[in-house]
């Protein structure tokens, strides 16, 4: 009897468990747990790395008290006093600002042209552009390195110029993809209206199309700027003497040798630069696209 009662109890429990499992509106605890753990896993290490830039000792893995030693205090090893790290910071901003502006200009023009130009050569050009988007960076980096040291060795020397050329070649596809996506949603009507009102094609593009494209152009600038700050594969192969190495390359070199928390400070500067550009870009984007229904973070992120 008691045995039967026990079986009935477990059966009831099993049905209850089953119905809980079958309930489509139950809270998805498991997925929620995975997501929370994933987000912690993906972001906490970076936060710890930022905190360790304020470490008092030489270690980047054991906390030895708070100090600004690696940022400013140390007269030689700190980020803002070490000549090589200071030079690297300048180089990073030099490379990123020029490369992202040129890549966005070239990419935007290419996107507008390729969107309206139909034909075999256009398809070939578009295919090449997309190929440059998916090719593993080491292939492009090594290819450019061999180009500048062999075929063009008397024209281009490794260093800032070569880095600009290579970075732009690698980044140009981002603005193309972002601007084209926007062009698809705009359609040709605005330009046609402008031309019906007497504008020349060029005036129509300048006065009707470009303002409409501005959010996309801005987003591509933010994306390419952030990406060029972080880039190090292409830039490393194309850097000449040590003074053309940007922060990313210095961090890579130091991480393989014996890094001090000054490296954490350098990485933090890169992080702040990137986030600043993204946040400013987003704020302007939101201002412009207010009322058009796509002013939320999601649409900016998916650009």
């Amino acid at each position: 009897m008691s045995e039967m009662g026990a079986t009935a109890g477990t059966a009831a429990e099993a049905t209850k468990r089953q119905s809980w499992f079958k309930n489509p509106w139950r809270k998805p605890y498991f997925l929620e747990g995975v997501t929370v753990l994933y987000l912690l896993w993906s972001l906490v290490p970076v936060v710890i790395a930022v905190i360790f830039s304020f470490n008092g000792g030489r270690s980047r893995s054991a906390w030895q008290g708070f100090s600004l030693r690696w940022w400013t205090a140390d007269p030689f090893d700190s980020l803002f006093h070490n000549p090589s790290l200071r030079q690297a910071m300048i180089q990073t901003f030099k490379l990123s600002s020029v490369a992202s502006v040129v890549a966005v200009v070239l990419g935007t023009l290419f996107a507008i042209g390729i969107d309206r130009w139909h034909g075999r050569p256009a398809r070939g050009a578009n295919f090449t552009m997309l190929l440059s988007f998916v090719v593993p960076e080491i292939i492009l980096g090594v290819s450019l390195f061999l180009l500048f040291t062999q075929l063009l060795k008397n024209t281009v020397t490794l260093g800032t110029g070569a880095q600009w050329l290579g970075l732009i070649a690698f980044q140009i596809s981002y603005p193309v993809i972002i601007v084209r996506a926007r062009l698809l949603t705009i359609g040709p009507e605005y330009e046609e209206a402008a031309m019906d009102l007497g504008a020349t094609p060029t005036q129509a593009i300048r006065k009707a199309l470009l303002p409409l494209l501005f959010p996309a152009i801005l987003a591509s600038f933010a994306v390419t700027f952030a990406d060029t700050v972080d880039d190090f594969v292409t830039v490393r192969y194309l850097s000449g003497k040590a003074d053309s190495e940007p922060l990313s390359v210095k961090i890579y070199g130091a991480a393989r040798a014996s890094p001090t928390p000054a490296v954490n400070a350098a990485a933090t500067v890169m992080l702040i630069a990137t986030l600043l550009v993204i946040v400013v870009g987003y704020l302007i984007y939101r201002r412009i696209s207010r009322g058009t229904g796509d002013s939320d973070v999601g649409s900016f992120a998916q650009l």
């Binding site: 290819s143 094609p201 991480a255």
Partner: protein, 324 residues
């Protein structure tokens, strides 16, 4: 200029006009000079020709060229009819003949990429599914957090783990503190698991975003229909959600595995020569004197390995764009 548009054939209906405009746009001849749109693309095309196609031609010329015997400098051959495949064949044979010194890295590359992509898919799918369907009022926050790794330098993220995995780092502190391991483990001494998890950590955001985009677009009513027709939650997932997200799964797998095939930095920061991959072979060959043709050959071999997934990805994105 305005004259051309006003002197168009007389008063067609609106629909005809629209049609005519569409075809005019297609041919891009009626409103614009023929050279008009192509001229926009010229700077980009020149740039790509000089700095994307020409470099690849240089790789071929270096790989199929020779090396100066005294100065150990590569002597590229720019005339395809004089190309010599000696170095290329020699490089290729290092993957299978004799000591097969490159076989280890090649096998590891495939094993790591396979394992890491799989983990990316499983974890990424769960996270993307939650973000797309259940995040509710936290949706924007979750989305920002999911995207934020894109704005953090890859190097910094791997460097952060390199610090945590030091013998005196926090990972060992936690593991010994919980008595999971007795002695601190040297995670950076060439452990497969460290490199694989490093690759997952580095590239999983690229998996989550396409999955999120796809799962987010699935119409809720499709799932309800699946349930109404008597499918269990699992059945509905298997027969509705999964097939609908298959393109995104494949795109995600390609987009995470392509950079992994060329990755050498994750390995150099988290592993040793015991865990070296294909990218390390290229990087070592490029940075050493006299190995230019070998570096070129390795780049060509890598290109052959990744060309199929690359073309597949381009084909799929084109199809998706056409379907939209």
């Amino acid at each position: 200029m305005a004259a051309t548009s006003t002197s168009d054939p007389p008063a067609p209906t609106r629909r005809q006009k629209k049609k005519a405009k569409a075809s005019a746009n297609e041919a891009s001849g009626a409103w614009y000079p023929r050279w008009y749109w192509p001229s926009f693309t010229v700077p980009g095309i020149v740039w790509l020709a000089l700095l994307f196609l020409l470099p690849f031609f240089t790789v071929l010329s270096v790989a199929f060229g020779t090396v100066d015997p005294i100065f150990r400098q590569p002597l590229p051959v720019y005339q395809p009819w004089w190309w010599s495949f000696a170095t290329f064949n020699e490089t290729l044979s290092k993957f299978y003949a004799g000591d097969a010194i490159y076989q280890g890295p090649l096998i590891r590359t495939f094993a790591y990429v396979f394992a890491a992509s799989f983990i990316c898919l499983v974890v990424g799918y769960a996270v993307a599914y939650y973000a797309a369907r259940y995040a509710g009022k936290y949706r924007v926050l979750v989305l920002i957090l999911l995207i934020s790794p894109f704005w953090i330098s890859y190097l910094m993220r791997i460097y952060a783990w390199q610090s945590l995995l030091q013998p005196d780092g926090y990972v060992n502190d936690i593991l010994t503190g919980l008595h999971i391991v007795g002695e601190p483990v040297n995670w950076l001494a060439g452990k497969h698991i460290t490199v694989i998890l490093g690759l997952v950590y580095g590239y999983i955001p690229f998996m989550i975003l396409p999955l999120f985009g796809s799962l987010d677009r699935i119409n809720q009513s499709m799932l309800e229909a699946g349930r109404d027709l008597g499918g269990s939650p699992f059945e509905t997932f298997r027969r509705v959600t999964l097939p609908l997200s298959r393109p995104a799964i494949l795109a995600g797998l390609v987009i995470v595995s392509l950079p992994m095939f060329g990755d050498y930095y994750t390995n150099n920061l988290l592993g040793t020569t015991q865990t070296s991959m294909f990218g390390n072979l290229i990087d070592n060959a490029v940075t050493q004197a006299g190995r230019g043709p070998e570096a070129g050959s390795l780049v060509i071999i890598l290109m052959i390995i990744v060309i199929v997934p690359m073309l597949y990805y381009l084909h799929e994105t084109k199809r998706a764009a056409a379907a939209r």
